[in-house]
Symmetry: C2
Subunit: 262 residues, 2 copies
């Protein structure tokens, strides 16, 4: 079977198993992808639903009817928030893109002692677009949420996640891997042949993690101390000194392996 083309739709566009396509979507399906009436594509609502849809024609233009829901789960069995200090340059675009690829649920951009400048709302909108694009390209069901930038102090204070880690490059801290495998409950552990885990559907409910990654030069000692006061555990990502753009990818790779393989 040839692979079907995918289209992100807004849940509000769907009514009675029909998708009311925007003018841009009609153009994209018909002119760009060259789909004809009767052809199929995959409609994704960015909230975990994928449908096989059929393109149909009516007087006012094209619309789509939903044939059936397709069950594909590429989501992590755990809700991971990345709390990341903003770099000075444009490096955050790539952090957002790669974190979205690796299954992050939400990203909190934070200003820190070493990166004080609050980004413009245009930048935040840009990151939202990048997150949506990356989610679509990596065939995720969920589009990660990009939160409004806040100060690190406020972010750690208001943190609602159950398991909290702050990555520290130097010093004798536990490896993130040891912390993760220490608390993966049995119902989250993947077993060969078992159906993919659905986020939030396990016994015991939602499991949420937040991982704080510092700017170039790392968190200041004061920041680490303040995070510890709010139950963050300082952790290491291994023997090597990583850049601020690489550390989030390493952390999320480990979360993926810990929850899908332990």
């Amino acid at each position: 079977m040839a692979q079907l083309q995918r289209l992100a739709v807004n849940p509000a566009q769907i009514c009675d198993r029909k998708i009311d396509l925007t003018r841009e979507q009609q153009h994209y399906l018909n002119r760009v992808l060259r789909l004809q009436a009767g052809d199929r594509f995959i409609a994704m609502d960015g909230r975990g639903h994928w449908w096989s849809a059929v393109l149909e024609v009516r007087e006012t233009g094209l619309f789509a009817s939903i044939a059936e829901e397709i069950a594909v789960n590429r989501e992590l069995p755990v809700e991971v928030t990345l709390m990341a200090a903003l770099p000075k340059g444009n490096g955050f675009d790539e952090v957002v893109r790669q974190a979205a690829e690796l299954g992050v649920a939400s990203i909190v951009p934070v200003t820190s002692d070493r990166t004080l400048l609050k980004p413009s709302s245009q930048k935040v909108d840009r990151w939202k677009r990048i997150a949506a694009e990356a989610a679509e390209q990596s065939e995720r069901q969920f589009v990660p949420t990009i939160l409004e930038p806040v100060s690190f102090d406020l972010a750690v204070k208001d943190c609602g996640q159950k398991y909290r880690f702050i990555c520290v490059a130097r010093g004798p801290n536990r490896h993130l891997w040891d912390c993760l495998v220490g608390f993966v409950p049995p119902q989250f552990r993947a077993t060969t042949g078992a159906p993919p885990l659905q986020r939030g559907e396990q016994d015991g409910g939602e499991l949420s993690i937040v991982i704080a990654i510092g700017p170039e030069g790392g968190w200041t000692e004061g920041e680490v101390k303040r995070a510890i006061e709010f139950d963050f555990e300082p952790v290491s990502l291994g023997s090597r000194i990583l850049r601020a753009v690489t550390a989030p990818i390493v952390a999320l790779s480990l979360v993926g392996a810990a929850f899908e393989k332990c």
Copy 2:
């Protein structure tokens, strides 16, 4: 103790515990870093040796004398080669940089069925510079080797590594993590309080791995088949569809965690 500045030197510059500094290095130490005669810095030869060196002055200019060797090991306890298909754009710069940060020993850029264009020698020189820079910044002892680009077929045929993996995005393959933890021999396993493992110094000698990562769109079926003929095991990197620039970072993150934490 304030952190010492680092300088990469060529082993040929060292004779009788003296470092014969080039004009550029003298300028860098004296004018850029503002070091004076009697000040210390760290000299690294890119082959695993770090020395504490003292800047000294003589009639013809500055030189350095070696005070003592410093033992710092940020190297992976295993020799990992990344065999990576070249992307169409400039994405390979970042792959080289991040792979170097994550401890890769060598990178073989390969042309593949989906990326035929052989890069210019300027590009290869550029990657070598990036690898050296990244090794210095991440405080590694070894500068990864960037090999000359070859065809995928030749690369798999001439492959000398003991453990061989080819990453495949779709299909029911074993997770790279399962393969790695399956063969980490006991002498490679880190134990709390033990000295860091030295590459190639364990009982049983050198342990070498090669991981082949495809271009955007992945390896072709033919390529995977040909790799399997040369004892490559097809592996998965998890449930998500990763870009060609992200997959190497995920693979190397898992190697790091498997060898440092299992």
